[in-house]
């Protein structure tokens, strides 16, 4: 190993450590914890509000020490934070917290995702009726789907600016649709069947397969009304027609 590589390896070891260090190195250790902790606070503001600043800073510090940053782009930092909170003993009483973090990471990804096009309605109108079941809709790259056994959409919404943190619902599962609208991230709770339908589309299912997964009655109602809204909102942004028998 070169002398430079050895120096740098030791320095990084010292930054990601709690052992005593020289005052100069301590400045860099503080800076790093502040930078990476600040990145987590920027990505997980609702988690921070739920647990308070001091508790969050300590959790972030322990996360940083256990999960070093792997990229020179700070926007990539924090993907494992939800998983960390799941096993963080001091947050055990807040069962919903990891899923709130998952929802916030989905928002973070949504904000930076590619700009997809809009659905080509003229091309869709030209599809023969008998081929409808074989349509494979694709979701916009900025769409994320998050499900939780806890009412995380209600908790998330209650902790946005101007709200006092009191959720509309305090129990029950949530099925959240995360998307981008005019540069802002929107989170909406949707019906479980619609969520499963979108999840199927995201996994590459045809319209027939996705509809089968949510039950005939819901599918009929949804195809008549819900689908149009998903297209209008840009959630569905493209389509292809699968080969017959495929």
């Amino acid at each position: 190993m070169s002398a430079l590589a050895a120096t740098q390896g030791e320095f990084i070891d010292a930054l990601y450590s709690e052992s005593p260090c020289a005052p100069g190195v301590a400045v860099y250790r503080r800076n790093m914890l502040a930078n990476l902790g600040g990145a987590l606070a920027a990505t997980f503001p609702v988690v921070e509000r739920l647990v308070g600043g001091a508790f969050f800073r300590e959790a972030a510090r322990r996360y940083v020490l256990a999960h070093p940053s792997r990229s020179g782009d700070l926007n990539e930092y924090g993907e494992g934070f939800a998983g960390f909170l799941e096993s963080y003993p001091h947050a055990r009483s807040l069962a919903y917290l990891p899923d709130v973090a998952r929802l916030e990471w989905a928002c973070h990804e949504c904000y930076q995702a590619a700009d997809g096009g809009a659905l080509d309605l003229a091309a869709l109108a030209a599809v023969a009726a008998e081929a409808y079941p074989r349509i494979r809709f694709s979701l916009h790259p900025a769409v994320r789907l998050v499900r939780s056994d806890h009412p995380v959409e209600a908790i998330w919404s209650a902790n946005q600016g101007g709200r006092d943190g009191t959720p509309d619902r305090d129990a029950g599962a949530d099925f959240a649709l995360v998307r981008r609208e005019q540069g802002s991230v929107r989170v909406r709770a949707i019906e479980e069947a619609e969520w499963r339908f979108l999840e199927s589309l995201g996994a590459g299912a045809t319209l027939e397969q996705a509809s089968a997964s949510i039950g005939e009655e819901f599918a009929a109602r949804f195809l008549a009304e819900g689908l149009a809204r998903l297209v209008r909102d840009g959630v569905i942004a493209g389509f292809a027609v699968a080969e017959e028998g495929a």
Binding site: F11, Y16, V27, S69, G72, N75, A113, G116, G183, S184
Partner: protein, 281 residues
């Protein structure tokens, strides 16, 4: 296309999100808008849409903080690919990075860490600048950083190290006058000697910012107005090398845009005075 022109030797500002809308609405006279490259590494979304709205209105400068040119390992290919595609898309007037390192064996500090100033570190740094310039198909600028410790085995004064990087790689120098001042206080050297080591012809841009004192160290926080000592050193630098595009950086406790613009106007006044002195001479 305006973004392809070299910026005029006048003042610009580091453009941060809280000021996007106001800069676009007011269009203040500025020679340069500088952004952190990594803030636009997203595949899409609003940040890139904002950047599109500024191109053509101002010369742009992409200032990287995460490439870690001084690491013993080669620059991260994925990071460099994102930078290359951003540079290709926006054709900025300037592309810059730092004379520092950030990562080792896959772990990143996301901070600008000081190098040991040795022949080995110099060879390594020059090789990485060469590789980046080759990949981008254009010269970059490299900036001297603030530091809070020094390696006892350094053998080259920092100013000479920066000058030598530019001489050997053909890159330009982004001279951060605040960082020279901060280091001269932290490490007890004469900032004039640092300036004297730099070949004026290689300096393409100057940075100014504010620092804070913590314990016995000055910390380059970019959270304050430029101090009198730094303005004075800036006058010396401009006197030595002539007017250069000069950028005001402010990244923490970001003030009203007018505070930033007032700092830019101070730099402009010094640049104007230097031009008048040149004409009189």
């Amino acid at each position: 296309m305006a973004s392809l022109q070299s910026p005029a030797p006048a003042a610009g500002i580091g453009l941060r999100a809280p000021h996007y809308a106001e800069v676009l609405a007011r269009r203040p006279a500025l020679a340069l808008l500088e952004v952190h490259s990594e803030n636009f590494f997203a595949a899409g979304g609003p940040a890139l849409a904002w950047l599109e709205s500024f191109r053509g209105l101002y010369p742009l400068s992409f200032h990287g903080v995460g490439l870690s040119l001084g690491s013993s390992e080669a620059p991260d290919a994925a990071h460099l690919a994102k930078l290359a595609s951003l540079v290709e898309r926006f054709e900025p007037a300037l592309v810059s990075e730092h004379v520092c390192w950030s990562s080792a064996s896959g772990r990143h500090s996301n901070d600008l860490l000081p190098l040991p100033y040795t022949e080995e570190a110099l060879d390594n740094f020059v090789a990485h600048v060469d590789a980046v310039q080759e990949r981008l198909g254009r010269p970059i600028l490299v900036e001297n950083v603030s530091s809070y410790m020094r390696f006892a085995h350094s053998t080259i004064p920092e100013g000479q190290f920066v000058a030598e990087v530019a001489r050997r790689s053909g890159c330009g120098v982004l001279l951060d006058v605040n960082n020279i001042w901060v280091n001269s206080v932290n490490h007890g050297f004469d900032p004039g000697e640092f300036l004297a080591a730099i070949d004026p012809a290689t300096v393409r841009e100057i940075h100014l910012a504010g620092f804070e004192a913590q314990d016995s160290l000055l910390i380059d926080t970019h959270s304050r107005e430029v101090t009198g000592d730094v303005w004075s050193l800036y006058r010396d630098a401009i006197g030595r090398m002539g007017p250069r595009p000069t950028l005001i950086e402010w990244d923490a406790d970001i003030p009203a845009l007018d505070v930033l613009l007032a700092e830019a106007r101070k730099a402009d006044a010094i640049l104007d005075a230097a031009r008048a002195a040149e004409r009189a001479a």
